[in-house]
Amino acid sequence: MGVEVLSVSVDSRFTHKIWNAVELSKMVEGGIPYPMLSDQGGRIGTVYGVYDEEAGVDIRGRFIIDPDGVIQAMEVLTPPVGRNPDELIRQVQAFQHVRKTGEATPSGWTPGETTLKPGPDLVGKVWEVWKP
């Protein structure tokens, strides 16, 4: 898919190294393949609207950033619920398709399914081309 992943928490880079060594490498073969960034002080999280000052941590925020550096999607969850990587991958595939073709992808679109070509001719005719 050609996507670079960066993870960020308020932990130090030393903690990241040991977490990868003692736990994550036992859950993911070979350990974590992407850079683990440190946001001590929460300054980066603040700019991204995900830093919780009371708890002193970055909450679960996920941003899809395109090759122009523009944020295409964001999802923010409170800590006890984990994210769904399948939905993340689906969204990345949809944004990559849109960028390549200029088409639009309807609700729940996955690669290979019908896309929409926005324009005057499509107005009132979505029901003809897209049958969920």
């Binding site: 898919m1 050609g2 996507v3 670079e4 992943v5 960066l6 993870s7 960020v8 928490s9 308020v10 932990d11 880079r13 903690t15 990241h16 190294k17 990868n20 736990e23 070979g30 350990g31 974590i32 393949p33 992407y34 850079p35 683990m36 960034l37 440190s38 946001d39 002080g41 300054r43 980066i44 603040t46 700019v47 991204y48 609207g49 995900v50 708890a55 941590v57 970055d58 909450i59 679960r60 925020g61 996920r62 941003f63 899809i64 950033i65 122009d68 550096g69 523009v70 944020i71 295409q72 999607a73 964001m74 800590p79 619920v81 984990g82 994210r83 993340l88 990345v92 944004f95 990559q96």
Partner: protein, 82 residues
């Protein structure tokens, strides 16, 4: 010369284009403009220290990844449960 990694590694944090100098803020109500993440807008650039398996410690900027798709994931902390 081998690179020595000290206990404290400065990293730029948010790299905001033109922070307003304190002297130019005319009233207490007027705060310097802060870039805030929004969909459809440029992702605020930053620099952070990082651990990269197999490479060690290095500073990384979001703008290092210009021209590529990036998924940026914040999470509450190492060794937490979810």
């Amino acid at each position: 010369m081998p690179e020595v990694d000290s206990c404290v590694q400065a990293a730029g944090g948010p790299l905001i284009d033109e922070p307003v100098p304190i002297g130019e803020i005319s009233s207490a109500k007027e705060k310097p403009k802060m870039t805030v993440a929004r969909v459809g807008k440029k992702a605020p650039d930053f620099e952070a220290s990082a651990y990269v398996a197999g490479e060690g410690f290095k500073n990384i900027k979001l703008s290092d990844y210009s021209g590529q798709w990036v998924v940026l994931c914040f999470y509450p902390g190492d060794f937490t449960f979810v």
